[in-house]
């Protein structure tokens, strides 16, 4: 019997993850784009790991790290009453780590496209780094920001390995749509799996269309 809950849970996870990513990703991408240090190379490499690692590897290490039997998991449990294994919060943390490079790389590409003379002009007009970022840099890289957000959102919707490792398959808590599809196939419920997959396919297509259309419209409005 098809359920609606995995879709809602996936949507909730993707929206929460994207919001967290915007809050931490923009300052991080700004730091990576405008600072030169050895630390930057290390941070960039760590952030990029999910791009090359199999999701199951990432999920496995996160499972170990967040387990209440290990120091980080124990510390989170004792001091914040926060358990990240087999919970929605754990899925959010894992998704943020997993989708971070997608947002960071888009936003960094956006920062690189801003002519340095625009930033210099803003500074000579007496504006702080923060004002320059908010009023000059970010509004002139809307395309990169929107692309980054949509890619991170869609990537979260489509993730499977990490969420299965860290979240398992708990209905209404961690059973997102990709896990539900896997579950239905395992149970030989091909029609339900087909329905879920079809909806996900359509959703992905609409999201990508949205990215291209938004970029096209923004480019058109700036060239006018």
């Amino acid at each position: 019997m098809p359920e609606f809950a995995p879709f809602l849970l996936t949507l909730k996870l993707a929206i929460t993850t994207t919001l967290v990513l915007v809050i931490i990703g923009i300052p991080l991408a700004y730091w990576l784009s405008f600072r030169r240090s050895v630390l930057k190379v290390v941070v960039e490499s760590v952030i990029g790991l999910p791009l090359v690692l199999p999701p199951s590897v990432l999920g496995f290490y996160l499972l170990l790290a967040f387990s209440p039997e290990n120091s980080l998991g124990k510390w989170l449990d004792n001091y914040f009453d926060l358990r990240l294994v087999f919970t929605f919060q754990g899925l959010v943390v894992a998704s943020v780590i997993y989708s971070l490079p997608f947002l960071i790389q888009s936003v960094q590409a956006g920062f690189r496209m801003i002519p340095s003379a625009l930033i210099d002009a803003s500074y000579t007009l007496g504006k702080s780094r923060f004002t320059t970022l908010v009023k000059v840099i970010l509004p002139n890289m809307k395309t990169a920001l929107i692309t980054g957000c949509i890619l991170a959102f869609a990537h979260t919707v489509g993730e499977f390995g990490v969420v299965l490792m860290i979240g398992g398959n708990i209905p209404h808590e961690t059973r997102v749509i990709s896990v539900a599809i896997y579950d239905e196939v395992q149970a030989m419920n091909y029609s339900t799996a087909n329905l879920y997959s079809g909806i996900l396919l359509l959703f992905s297509f609409v999201v990508l269309m949205g990215v291209y259309l938004t970029n096209y419209r923004l480019q058109k409005s700036f060239s006018q």
């Binding site: 210099d120 002009a121 500074y123 007009l125 000059v136 006018q224």
Partner: protein
Amino acid sequence: MIDVRLLKMLHGTDGNMQLRFETQIQSGEFVTLYGPSGAGKSTVLRMLAGLTDPEDGYIIANDINWFDKRQKINLRPQLRCVGMVFQEYSLFPNMTVRENLIYALEKGQSDEVVDELLDRMELGQLRLKRPSFLSGGQKQRVALARALVRTPKLLLLDEPLSALDSDIRMRLQDYILEIHHQLHLTTILVSHDYKEVVKMSDRLIVLEGGKIKREGSPDSIFDIALNKSIKY
């Protein structure tokens, strides 16, 4: 008065070059930095604005220390209150002409100055246009107006007219001169154009290979150059 001594090693395609710039600029003076590409003219302007750090020296503007390597003083560009116009216009594409000027207002500053500048620069009809709709000459007038919103005492012009054709160039030269006199500005212009330099400058500083080669009124400099068959 601005008392300047700037030292910096510049790394170019032709190798390294020591930039050494030392001069005094009187209030109300119109000084032009003249010389071949890569002589360090724009770097001097950027160091005055606080956008590039000198390796040694000092900048004292009207008794305020903007930069002093020995005393470890380096005032941020935001606090130097200079007006700067760049060769590539540098207007903010996401803002209209008027919004570009409004952005430059200081906290609590009335926006009357914005409309006054737009009218003075004959930009009134373009106030709601985005920069991408403007011609090169119009863009540079907006950039000039924007640089004047905070009523700076020092105006830095980094080859602002080099991308424009001669008619618009002449008109903008007149605008700049008019504003320089009316607002009692101290102006430093970087230019390659001989006619422009002669028309606008009180004093010319010829920069070559990072060093000041000559300094004086445009007439005196170009007379010497002519007599000695030096090509500037």
